[in-house]
């Protein structure tokens, strides 16, 4: 179980990450885009393919590992973060990715998700948010909007949804981001950032389910509307959006965000400037929702903090340093002993 000597290999390509399994999502499903972008980003990282592991739970999105020519596990519903934690702690040299859905990761698996975030275990969590249970054929999920009619809510859902990013921030997430299947280039960028983050990287990916919740994100993905309805976050850049880049976000005296017309209603200097290290700003951004606000995409928060897995190994080193490497015979014979002859 010691780290394998890394063989010298020619640089990998996207194709190297495609498994031999037929992809079995519905034609047009947003999952295809996400798969392709991950397969595009991984070769750039220079990590040998055998050192990458993708772990998923159950759901359409959780079929992800089957299509990745890496190590992978399609586990049980909601438990991928826990399984990934065990793997990463036992094998810190591996690059561990979790593929999960809004049901898998936030409904049945919500507890594991928040505990991984709290501990900051070094793994990348891709949460495919289609705001529906796809695999079980269309029940509302914990991210479905109030009023959604679904198989299990024929008169409209009454559950207030989670905002996955707010939940992740509340759990102490050190890297929290959002991307959308319909903007693959931006998604790639966010994936790349996540891949380089040390600690839990939590990426909510808006994903269109063409069968059970088609068009849920059209409002912000359709070319025509996009510039007015979504806001691309860039560290150090003001929060400006609109086709004419004429709208900004500022805080009102109650510390609540508001949209203003740059020029007409205020000047650029009032505009909030994105800062990935500000705890407060990430929280405010996570509250920007349609119809009043554009939907932010990009990295909301990225800060560096000790990871749990590294901590475990440092502590082991430390104890070994102090006590010496364990000797089994000594261990068995420790404590008060006596001899019978």
């Amino acid at each position: 179980m010691s780290a394998n000597p890394l063989p010298v290999t020619p640089p990998l390509t996207k194709k190297d990450f495609q498994s031999d399994q037929d992809v079995r999502w519905c034609p047009g499903c947003g999952d295809y885009v996400i798969l392709a972008q991950v397969q595009r980003v991984l070769p750039e990282l220079g990590i040998p393919r055998e050192n990458i592991v993708v772990i998923s739970g159950i759901g359409c999105s959780s079929r992800f590992p089957y299509y990745m020519n890496t190590y992978g596990m399609h586990s049980i519903h909601g438990r991928a973060p826990a399984i990934a934690t065990g793997l990463k702690v036992a094998r810190p040299e591996l690059s561990v990715w979790v593929a999960t859905g809004d049901g898998d990761g936030l409904s049945i698996g919500g507890n594991h998700t928040i505990h991984v975030l709290r501990r900051n275990v070094d793994m990348k969590i891709l949460l495919f948010n289609n705001r529906i249970y796809g695999l079980t054929k269309g029940q509302y999920s914990p991210t479905s909007q109030v009023g959604m009619k679904s198989k299990s809510s024929p008169y409209g859902s009454l559950d207030a949804p989670f905002d996955p990013l707010r939940l992740a921030l509340g759990a102490g997430g050190t890297f929290v981001a959002r991307a959308v299947d319909a903007e693959p280039a931006h998604l790639t960028e966010v994936l790349r950032r996540a891949a380089h983050h040390k600690g839990t990287a939590f990426i909510e990916i808006y994903q269109n389910c063409v069968v059970f919740n088609d068009g849920a994100f059209d409002y912000m993905t359709e070319k025509a509307a996009r510039e007015e309805t979504r806001l691309v976050l860039t560290h150090g850049k003001p929060l400006v959006f609109g086709k004419a880049k004429d709208k900004g976000i500022r805080l009102n005296p109650k510390l609540e965000p508001e949209v203003f017309q740059i020029g007409r209603e205020g000047d650029l200097s009032q505009c909030l400037v994105h800062d990935e290290t500000s705890e407060t700003l990430a929280w405010i951004l996570a509250h920007l929702q349609p119809p009043k606000f554009p939907t932010p995409v990009g990295v909301f928060r990225a800060v560096s903090a000790p990871t749990y897995d590294a901590g475990v190994h440092e502590q082991e080193e430390e104890v070994r340093g102090k006590k010496g490497a364990g000797d089994l015979a000594k261990l068995l014979g420790s404590g008060e002993t006596w001899t019978v002859s």
Binding site: M1, A3, N4, Q21, P48, R49, E50, N51, I52, V53, I58, P65, Y66, M68, N69, T70, Y71, G72, M73, H74, S75, I76, R79, A82, I83, A84, T85, G86, L87, K88, V89, A90, R91, E93, L94, N111, H112, H115, V312, Q315, E316, V319, R320, K323, G324, A325, G326, L328, A329, L331, L332, G333, S334, G335, E336, T337, W338, T339, V340, S341
Partner: protein, 630 residues
């Protein structure tokens, strides 16, 4: 205290108290949970071990962390059984009862054998304490006590205070020393060596030498009191037992389990990974292992039991010897994930330190009622091996064996222990590390002809391939998989084949087992069958019955699934089969279904282990049905 069943004259004290030889003694220390009874018991145990006796102990804590002082639920007890012969249980009933307060007397007196030694701290029998214990009047005034028992009222608190007069300790600190007085007195009475205890106290209170010396002083005071008080007619000698030679230590079952796990990983040369969520009475395994960070042991305290087993599955996938520990309710939560481990065919050890149930039940008490859950408690056909430990020290070998099976057959394995084993202790012959059966871990590294689910023809185990191995990238999961490639397969015939081969693999473990040993003749009138922590009681019951000429044998099963291949034959060689269990007849169900043998059940579900006498009596009823009815 067999040899002293006839009352010695109490009116005949002599300066040189005679030392009377006895074979076997059971002492119970009891008092308020604030009185330090566990410590007292542990120290007496240590000293007894050093004296060379065989022994077994049974601590009995209150359910509350700190029940109000002096109340009945606040009573804490520690029983030790020691002998010059082999010992298998902590004793049915105490020969000696040391009661530190009225509540302890009230709850424990019914257990004391007639004619036993009863020592009470008479200072504790204040009105307040009597009332808390629900005594209408002071039981010490009851003359029948002195008639039924060898009854000694000792002003333990007062004597402790006097011993520490001028020590500068606060009265609270002084009060905390009184258990040491009782300990000293018992040391005197049974001629125990005190050095180790005294050295231990000095080590423990190295930073508070004043406290250390006070404790030491009070131990001596207790000892000297015995020697000088002209109160005790006898002191006793329990000769060393003829134990196999070697170095010994005392271990609880939970310690032994932890050591067995660590030893397996060390022998296998891989990391041990424990994913666990605390639960009584299993937490101590987590505690023990969390000290061993310099042994390549990783402990992960998970957010719940599901994450406990989940993380262990992840670690096993990564190549670690992975284990998860829990007790009944936590076991229930792990069952879905066990199914995954069965599908993945990864090695994994799942330890259930059973406790009283159902539901939260009696969390601090023992029971053996998770057997059917262990064998059957998963959705669909999800077979896995189940083994059980039979004594505190045996937990070492059982844990080690669990890993051996897990690795050899690439399967999750359930190890059942229980609260009685986990908290109980006995001397343990420290094994020679070199002689431990090797555990061979072979990760598959060769890409040539690699198929994730191709099986070893003998064991039917699939290869263990760990991430990081170039060229063997593949995916596994909980959906049914193709017989060879391990890819998802919905093919009906393949499913049947896979269900059957998983069952066959587990069943095949039986082939590798040594012949089952029966204690006693291989045939006869009655076979007493048991498993797990009842070993000692059943063994000694059989011994007693055999000694009286009964054709009774004892079969104790370590392997509960699969059953060893020779069990059916063994059962059929006896006129009667009695399965004695601390549940409503779970092993009996399995044996009856498997062998169609009309096995009878003897059950006890009181959160307590069997007494030897209970088994003996039940056997007698079977052997002499008329006698029993008469």
């Amino acid at each position: 205290m067999d040899a002293t069943a006839n009352h010695p004259e109490r009116e005949h004290p002599g300066k040189e108290t005679p030392r009377e030889e006895v074979e076997t003694v059971t002492i119970r220390f009891c008092g308020d949970s604030g009185d330090g009874m566990q410590l007292t018991g542990t120290e007496f145990t240590k000293s007894t071990a050093i004296a060379g006796n065989d022994l077994a102990t049974f601590p009995d804590y209150p359910a509350e962390i700190r029940a109000p002082a002096g109340t009945l639920p606040g009573v804490s007890g520690f029983q030790i059984h020691f002998s010059s012969r082999d010992i298998y249980t902590p004793g049915d009933a105490p020969d000696v009862l040391v009661a530190m307060n009225p509540a302890a007397l009230k709850t424990n007196l019914p257990d004391l054998v007639a004619g036993g030694v009863l020592i009470v701290n008479k200072d504790a029998f204040s009105d307040v304490n009597l009332q808390k214990a629900g005594y209408g009047q002071n039981p010490l005034d009851d003359e029948s006590l002195a008639r039924k028992y060898r009854f000694f009222k000792v002003d333990i608190s007062g004597l402790t205070e006097r011993a520490l007069a001028g020590s500068g300790l606060t009265s609270k600190e002084v009060a905390l020393c009184k258990n040491m007085f009782a300990l000293g007195l018992m040391f005197w009475m049974y001629g125990r060596p005190m050095e180790a205890t005294i050295a231990g106290i000095r080590r423990k209170f190295a930073k508070k030498p004043q406290i250390a010396e006070a404790n030491v002083k009070v131990i001596h005071a207790g000892f000297n009191y015995g020697e000088t008080a002209e109160m005790f007619a006898h002191k006793y000698e329990v000769k060393p037992a003829r134990l196999p030679p070697g170095r010994y230590r005392n271990v609880t079952g939970n310690q032994a389990t932890a050591l067995g796990l660590a030893a397996a990983a060390q022998k296998a040369g891989v990391r041990l990974f424990l994913g666990s969520y605390p639960i009584t009475p299993a937490s101590d395994i987590l505690h023990e292992l969390s000290y061993l960070k310099n042994y390549g042991v990783t402990t992960f305290q998970a957010e719940d039991e599901i994450a406990g087993i989940g993380s262990a599955i992840g670690a096993a996938y990564g190549g670690a010897l992975a284990v998860t520990t829990t007790s009944g309710p936590g076991m229930a939560l792990k069952t879905e994930a066990m199914g995954l481990a069965i599908m993945l065919e990864l090695p994994l050890v799942i330890i259930d330190v059973q406790r009283g149930g159902p539901s939260t039940g009696l969390p601090t008490k023992t029971e053996q009622a998770d057997l059917l859950q262990a064998v059957y408690g998963r959705n669909s056909e999800a077979p896995l091996p189940v083994i059980a430990a039979s004594s505190p020290a045996d937990c070492f070998g059982a844990a080690y064996e669990a890993f051996r099976i897990a690795v050899q057959y690439m399967t999750p394995v359930i190890l059942l222990t229980d609260g009685y084993l986990g908290n109980g202790s006995e001397p343990w012959l420290i094994p020679n590390v070199e002689k431990l059966r090797p555990i061979e871990v072979k990760y598959r590294r060769d890409p040539e002809g690699f198929q994730p689910y191709a099986r070893d023809p003998k064991t039917l185990a699939r290869p263990w391939v760990i991430p990081g191995t170039p060229g063997l990238e593949h995916r596994i999961g909980g959906l049914e998989k193709d017989f060879t490639t391990g890819s998802v397969s919905y093919d009906p015939q393949n499913h049947e084949r896979m269900v059957r081969i998983r069952a066959e693999k587990v069943a095949g473990i039986a082939k590798g087992l040594a012949p089952t040993e029966v204690f006693g003749k291989p045939e006869g009138d009655l076979l007493v069958v048991g498993w797990g922590g009842t070993y000692g009681a059943l063994h000694q019951a059989a011994e007693q019955l055999q000694a009286k000429g009964n054709r009774v044998s004892h079969l104790h099963l370590r392997y509960l699934n699969p059953l060893p291949p020779d069990v059916g034959d063994i059962l059929r060689r006896f006129r009667h089969v009695l399965v004695a269990e601390l549940n409503l007849g779970q092993l009996a169900k399995i044996l009856r279904a498997t062998y169609l043998v009309d096995a009878a059940s003897y059950n006890k579900i009181q959160g307590k282990p069997f007494k030897i006498a209970e088994i003996v009596n039940r056997c007698r009823e079977i052997l002499e049905p008329d006698g029993a009815r008469a």
